[in-house]
């Protein structure tokens, strides 16, 4: 291989390793939600440090002799042995923590394993083939992240990792060709990476089309919902409540999800309650909720300026709110059970208090006043609540198909609770602490018990699973409870003083009956997930702060945790210092190439030419003399004699001393020659490249 080709191959190897490092780091970012934070941080730092250390190394020959000289030699260097040991130890440790059947545990185990495999692979990777294998490891890491931590946050690392893998593949192939070719005429690796941008963009577009064309194997209606970017960014964007229509639809299927968008539904005062209910569900058959239809519908009639259920007793405590309809609604949305309505349309209600409009609901921008029952009390009052319980058995009914271990869990959770309030708190705390909020949690298979799957298998779900599980656990121990759907939190930043509920703010929560108090709302969904529904800059900041707080909480307390955290921080700092050092070195190198202000005009022109040629891999080789360089450049855009004269002028200017500086005419001619060559290099004038400088 010629020195020029060797230098090109070295540059290519460096670019390949950088691309692979980016791909690997993105793969590690993808599994971040699955792995314990300190371990993840440490492995990421180790991976980056090891990969950075390898950036300058050329690729070694493959041991089996396909493209190298180590034929019939099976070499096991120390680093490969270390890698094998690391993977084996990590695998053994991960297996000890694996709880079969527990998806969360499986995800954590696999994520840990992939982190260690990536690090160990980066440690041992020497050849192109091993780097190609590393790309496979990255894809496998992405697959683990997709299976166990599939979330919208996966898009960025996934796209970057796949791009890194693709660029790595392109550079790997280029490296093979560079080394095997008899002669090369090549640009810089950067130009190869740039050439990958357009194919990557088209790959993204084609991939999206294929995604839309493929049969939906996931059971998710993500395809239609991917269009709503805002919905995807909100962790509380529950697809479980199938939009406004579903709020009043009378059924809620846990095995299906609706598509929600950013479309506004209702605008209320910012000081209004954050939960606005639309439908109450009483009957659960193990798979879906149904609103009660017993007793028929009750027409609301005018009474004291509002429509009220005919014959219904007036509530003791109620509040009145004003709301403006911004989207299609067919139920009367209110902070509590609605008892009065003043606005366009006719209202009917069922015995459970679900109020809905007859026909189409109010038009857009129409306002209405709604009176609703307020059943709030202090914690002490709820603890002390006593009296006759609600006598309807539906509020304590559980489906016959419910798994016995759900009831066993409920009994276990509430064993120490002396009153209803403590029992509810125990169930809520358990769900919030044990289960993971995941808007993209996999749906249970048809026929599987969704509550059993949520509580004991997947441990991942969104508000529907949380609320349903809470209701079933409470009913299992005789506590009257029901599921409520509606809208929660809303967006308070779009319009000052207003709270806007959008479709993606749809939510499900629990109402528990307290004797003497009534139905009291209780939300078992983790507040971090359900509380940040709003879009806008403020909520983004809140989400970032929440994510940081959550990450900090994941660091185990005690000496070991502190040590790991400090070690990880140190490793990241070291990686940053290394990066900064490289950046400074490169900057200094660039400054050297650019020249100094006191350089002569010929030298300055020569340095400009060198820079232009270096961008095309045609710069003067380290062992190439000025004469050889001049001969090589001559004949392309400028005659060989002219280049030789310009080179002599350059030597005279640099080394001639004061008395032997070139004449101004010679200087001008030399500068013109260098500038013409530079223009030719920029315009990519035909390059003649052979095995040796042409003479």
């Amino acid at each position: 291989m010629t020195p020029q080709a060797a230098e090109l191959a070295r540059q290519n190897a460096r670019a390949t390793r950088i691309a692979f490092m980016v791909a690997g780091a993105c793969g590690e970012f993808a599994v971040q939600p699955l792995a314990p934070f300190p371990v993840w941080l440490a492995m990421l730092a180790l991976f980056v440090v090891v990969a950075l250390a390898a950036v300058g190394q050329p690729f070694a020959a493959v041991a089996d002799g396909t493209d190298g000289t180590n034929r019939n030699r099976r070499v096991w260097p120390v680093r490969q042995l270390v890698a094998v040991v690391v993977i084996a130890l990590a695998g053994a440790e991960a297996l000890t923590q694996l709880r079969p059947g527990d998806v969360q545990s499986e995800g954590r185990t696999l994520a840990l394993l992939m982190l260690f495999v990536q690090f160990a692979h980066a440690l041992a990777s020497r050849t192109r083939r091993e780097t190609a294998l590393g790309c496979g490891v990255v894809v496998a890491t992405l697959a683990v992240a997709a299976v166990f931590g599939g979330d919208v946050t996966l898009i960025a690392p996934m796209a970057l990792a796949l791009a890194g893998v693709a660029v790595t593949a392109a550079l790997l192939q280029r490296g093979v060709l560079l080394e095997s070719a008899t002669a090369v005429s090549a640009g810089s690796p950067a130009s190869v990476v740039r050439a990958c941008v357009a194919p990557l963009a088209s790959a993204l577009a084609i991939g999206a089309l294929i995604f839309l064309a493929l049969p939906d194997t996931s059971g998710l209606r993500v395809r239609s919902s991917l269009g709503g970017s805002g919905r995807l960014s909100g962790p509380a964007a529950d697809r479980g409540v199938s939009g406004v229509g579903a709020v009043g639809a009378g059924t809620l299927d846990l095995n299906a999800r609706g598509a929600l968008s950013d479309a506004p539904v209702l605008e209320v005062d910012a000081s209004a309650p954050r939960y606005w209910q639309g439908a109450v569900f009483a009957d659960f058959d193990g798979r879906s909720w149904r609103s009660s239809r017993q007793g028929g519908l009750l027409l609301w009639t005018p009474d004291d300026g509002m429509l009220r259920p005919a014959g219904a007793p007036a509530p003791v405590r109620f509040r009145t709110d004003h709301a403006t309809v911004l989207g299609g609604v067919d139920v009367v949305l209110a902070p509590g059970a609605p008892t009065g309505y003043a606005g366009p349309g006719t209202v009917v209600s069922d015995p459970d208090g679900n109020a809905r409009f007859v026909g189409d609901g109010p038009d857009r921008n129409a306002g209405y006043d709604v009176a609703s029952v307020l059943a709030g009390a202090s914690d002490d009052a709820l603890r002390a609540a006593a009296g006759a319980d609600v006598d309807d058995p539906r509020w304590t009914a559980v489906p016959s198909v419910m798994a016995p271990r759900v009831r066993a869990l409920a009994v276990q959770l509430t064993a120490s609770a002396s009153n209803r309030f403590d029992a509810v708190a125990a169930v809520e705390d358990y769900l919030k602490a044990t289960e993971t909020y995941d808007i993209n949690s996999p749906l249970p298979r048809r026929g599987d018990d969704p509550i059993d799957d949520f509580l004991f298998v997947s441990h991942r779900g969104f508000c529907e699973q949380f609320a349903t599980a809470a209701v079933m656990l409470l009913r299992s121990v005789g506590v009257p409870a029901r599921l409520v759907t509606g809208y929660a939190f809303g967006d308070t930043t779009s319009r000052p003083g207003e709270r806007i509920f959008r479709q993606r703010d749809a939510h499900a929560w629990v109402q528990v009956y307290y004797p003497g108090v009534g139905w009291v709302a209780s939300d078992a969904t983790p507040s971090g997930a359900a509380g940040a529904a709003s879009s806008g800059a403020a909520s983004v900041r809140e989400r970032i702060a929440g994510a940081l707080r959550a990450a900090w909480k994941r660091i185990p307390h005690g000496r070991v945790g502190a040590f790991v955290a400090v070690a990880a921080a140190f490793a990241i700092g070291a990686a940053l210092v290394l990066l900064a050092g490289r950046g400074l070195a490169r900057r200094r190198q660039r400054a050297r190439a650019t020249g100094r202000p006191d350089d002569g005009p010929v030298l300055a022109a020569y340095l400009r030419l060198e820079r232009a040629l270096a961008a095309q891999e045609r710069a003067r080789a380290p062992g190439e003399t000025f004469g050889e360089f001049a001969r090589r450049l001559g004949g392309l855009a400028v005659g060989a004699g002219e280049v030789a004269r310009a080179m002599r002028c350059l030597e005279q200017e640099c080394y001639g001393g004061r008395g032997r500086q070139p004449a101004p005419a010679e200087v001008a001619a030399a500068v013109a020659v260098f500038d013409r060559l530079r223009a030719a290099a920029r315009d990519d004038v035909p390059v003649v490249v052979g095995n040796a400088p042409r003479r």
């Binding site: 693709a166 002669a183 993209n440």
Partner: protein, 353 residues
């Protein structure tokens, strides 16, 4: 379209990518994970993008110039001229040139070209150094256009129906002596250097034998008379198989010797017994290399061939045996006896180092 698709090839990386995509789709079906589908679709998008990157206006026009006559271990130049008439930068190109023969004569020349600017032209030169003697029936060259990410490539192959001769490696010629004379060592390259004297010019004396100093001194044309005749007539017999290193060395030495003799005005004939038929020919300075290039599997010359050759060389000539080591000694002794009876000396070219 059919022409475009001809030569469309899948790269080595395609298979693992497709397997990974299929596995991810299957896993997505099992786990109901939509994100697995997204990863799989990303991979499929890369595959499709790579295939499409070869499709739109990225073709280049390539012309080739290459030598017809080569010499073993002597570098020659192959030049590809690549022009991009399109409006987009070309994809990376891999240009290769290969001599097609019954056995490999020279390593395949490959030139890697990152890209060619729209409307631009690039000359890429590479060195071709033949490793073996022989005759290539044609030269085959290909232009491989590489798709994005190396998943696909298009490789149209073109064949140049032009024979390319690879002459034996340059070697030191053997000093030949007149028939009946003792053969003492290799001696100087040119035979007949022992000067007997200067004599007057006779018709037929070559001009380069004129002794200019004596001519100037005497005013008449004088020539240098050597002690030996300049060159006897030569006959060459071949027996051996191409690729045998020892035989190749013998051939190279014989070729150099014959070339020198021809240059000195000697008359040369050769007999080559190839499978199927024998071949007799008179060698000239312009065609002296031809039999040495074509020797592939030279069998032991038949008696008829030998006598035919001896008749043409005539008494006083030299018979050069360019034969392999595995030729039976008895055969060469027999040839010596026949040649001696015809008044020819036999030189076994194997005997020289």
């Amino acid at each position: 379209m059919r022409r475009r698709l001809a030569g469309f090839r899948a790269g080595r990386s395609l298979q693992p990518v497709l397997i990974a995509a299929a596995a991810l789709v299957a896993l997505a079906t099992l786990t109901h994970s939509v994100w697995l589908q997204v990863v799989a679709c990303g991979l499929l998008g890369l595959v499709a993008s790579s295939a499409l990157s070869l499709g739109f206006g990225t073709g280049c026009e390539v012309t080739l110039s290459h030598p017809n006559d080569l010499v073993v271990a002597t570098a020659a130049e192959v030049c590809f001229t690549v022009r991009n008439p399109g409006s987009r930068r070309s994809r990376p190109l891999l240009l290769s040139y290969q001599l097609v023969a019954s056995r490999p004569l020279a390593p395949t020349v490959t030139v890697y070209l990152d890209s060619v600017a729209p409307g631009g032209q690039v000359e890429a030169r590479a060195t071709l150094t033949p490793l073996a003697r022989g005759e290539a029936t044609c030269a085959r060259w290909s232009v491989t256009q590489l798709g994005a990410f190396g998943l696909f490539s298009v490789k149209p192959v073109r064949t140049l129906e032009r024979r390319v001769a690879v002459a034996p490696q340059p070697a030191t010629p053997v000093a030949l002596r007149a028939p009946g004379g003792a053969r003492e060592g290799a001696g100087p390259v040119r035979s007949g250097l022992d000067v007997r004297g200067v004599r007057e010019w006779r018709p037929g004396d070559p001009a380069r034998r004129v002794h200019w100093r004596a001519t100037a001194r005497t005013g008449e044309l004088r020539v240098l008379e050597r002690g030996e005749p300049s060159h006897p007539a030569l006959g060459v017999l071949f027996a051996g198989r191409a690729g045998d290193p020892r035989f190749e060395t013998v051939l190279a030495r014989t070729a150099a010797t014959v070339a020198l003799a021809l240059e000195d005005g000697a008359e040369c004939h050769a007999w080559l017994e190839q499978p199927g038929a024998g071949c007799f020919g008179r060698l000239t300075p312009s065609s002296s290399v031809t039999p040495f290039v074509r020797v592939e599997a030279a069998e032991l010359p038949s008696d008829k061939g030998i006598s035919h050759l001896l008749d043409h060389v005539g008494a006083g000539g030299l018979l050069l045996l360019a034969i392999a080591d595995d030729v039976p000694q008895a055969w060469s002794e027999q040839v010596r006896a026949v040649a001696a009876s015809s008044g020819l000396d036999v030189v076994d070219m194997r005997e020289f180092p």
